[in-house]
Symmetry: C2
Subunit: 407 residues, 2 copies
Amino acid sequence: MHDLRATLVRGGTSKCWLFGAEDLHEAILATGLDRDRVLTTAFGSADRRQLDGVGGATATTSKAAIVHRAVTSDADVEYEFAQVGIGDERVEWNSNCGNCATAVALYAVHAGLVRVARGNTTVRLRHARSGALLTAVIPTPYGIAPDEGRAVVLGTEALGVPVDLGFESPVGSSTGHLLPTGRPVELLQRADPWTEPVPATLVDAGTAAALMDAEAFGLSGSETLAAFTSVVPLLTELRRRAALTMGLAGPEDPVLHSIPKVGVVGRPRTYRTTGGRLVRADEYDLAVRMVSMHAPHPVIGLTAAVAVAVAASVPGSVPARHLVDRSAPDRLRLGTPAGVLTVNVERAASGRVRRVVLRRAARRIASATLWVPMSRPTAPAGHPATALPAIRRRARTTTAVSVTPSH
Amino acid sequence: MHDLRATLVRGGTSKCWLFGAEDLHEAILATGLDRDRVLTTAFGSADRRQLDGVGGATATTSKAAIVHRAVTSDADVEYEFAQVGIGDERVEWNSNCGNCATAVALYAVHAGLVRVARGNTTVRLRHARSGALLTAVIPTPYGIAPDEGRAVVLGTEALGVPVDLGFESPVGSSTGHLLPTGRPVELLQRADPWTEPVPATLVDAGTAAALMDAEAFGLSGSETLAAFTSVVPLLTELRRRAALTMGLAGPEDPVLHSIPKVGVVGRPRTYRTTGGRLVRADEYDLAVRMVSMHAPHPVIGLTAAVAVAVAASVPGSVPARHLVDRSAPDRLRLGTPAGVLTVNVERAASGRVRRVVLRRAARRIASATLWVPMSRPTAPAGHPATALPAIRRRARTTTAVSVTPSH
């Protein structure tokens, strides 16, 4: 066994295990496992219940981030986000996760990766894979890293330290352009040529997104998740059309299920959240129902919220058409199934979007030493251990004692 | 926040968080929370996803045990087993869990709660609520507590330290008698008086159990879980009848769903495990399909395995009638849906059952400090933290910094 330090932090509605890059590097040397294998072993990924590790056996509880001090001056901390397999010993490194970025920021403050200021501390984060820059502002009264806070996010009632998460210069991160087609509205044609084309704003800010007019589906954008479910197959079909139109994929490429984000927007109406709370039409600016892979998203992804907010400030766009009050487009209140999410868009004097800020929360749940086995041959199901071939112990295993069944 | 030490150990197919009784006591004093609340807070029980804690959001991954050195000479370690609520801030203390007992034994060896011998170390455990005594034999070569092992149990392919778990003097633990009715077979009559009564052995060893003849249901006892599912409603009806017959409940008492354990036994036949492996008829002694609450058990509970093994050694009992070879009833190989489980019955010279031993496995997954919040008011769903009333900080919160959203 190798003892690998790790910290479990809840960021918003995700649980993320955070690892110092140096600690992980040591674990790789000590165990002889590669990086992915260290994570899948620590999480117990071989089993879909993750019984033999610290994974939580769901997408939101099987996440990790590797964190180290940034070497360039534009960030304090660099991290990689890992979606760790469940019943599958693979790790996905390509996506980013706003919830885990929030967790990384709180971790950075605790781990001394950033100088803690009196009042508020700003952590500048870079997602290494995409190069995306994020900032996180955390209250640090008396210059002390906070343990506790009273901030909540949509989707959970748990309390945490408030974190203002900013997506820096989010425009064009996937395609280089706010509007990849150059137009604020495109008409997306379904495969069936007899159907009406659907008006959509194709935008690239935070993430690539296709925001469609709820009315084109006979919806308002403020319906229940159950009612919204009926159009999800249609939206996933149009996601493919949008990907081609935005140049995210060619006709021969495999179908992407995560990009662009798709959903519908509509004019505010009074509705009830999934938690049962009544939200009045004047409590928010824009109704949104998004799709997550092949199902309705219970709230809205953070990067999708960035895309909606930026798109709403584009004159003539589908979201902009549904705004009642267009005077303050820099603070947009989105009516999501779980409640109202406020998105703040900060601009330079030139009008360029400098940063989009979301109010999030994080809590450190545990500081741990994970015991990572050196090697892990697969045993045939239901076989006694005595039937297994002997495994040679690695020379490096100096502190671990490996025992064979003596009976 | 209070920093509470805890260790995560997999015992068989369960994940158990283990706490030293002293550490938990300190946490109660420091947080002002009662014992149940410390656990539900650490696990994040308020939420059915257990997002804000270390719980795994399933019955087998939301377990804890409180461990301390025994004060009497018949045991080394005393523990309480806690089934921690999921989406429910309650803790169930009344049951025992063989998997967690296995985890406690490995923990005791690591924590120095028992003197580690050269060769094998025996840990004597007492389950405080029931008074049940268990022994666990763990290989400790060179007198060192083992980190790693190559033992597997039915239901998972994960490797662990081998643990021989013994149930000490398991006969009569619920009723005082091996056969509460005095007879090796009872005929259980269903509510419908026109149906044939079902022959069953009502036994009390490890747990109270009603072991019925598979043939009475037109079954063999070695069928697939899918085929067995059809008789589960019938077996749950007969569980009530068995509880009354065994004197575990009176006619006015509420219906118990966990006691007695019910299932069917039959003569060995070649079958395929849920994992797809072929088990030949001569590889085991008795076919068993048990019910867990209202569903087929994927393997067999450990205490139920004890009951079946002891019952099989009673001449004329339903299990005994199905044994092909009755010459070695002290080592019984049970053919369960997941594969073959071997149960060893050890007897005194008088024939009395001294101990029933099962080969199990355990692995230490993590050693941790859990950050337990001092107080945890419930926030209305989807409300910004700023809407919450201010919470007075407790005087004891000396190391924790509680921050309010500054925005």
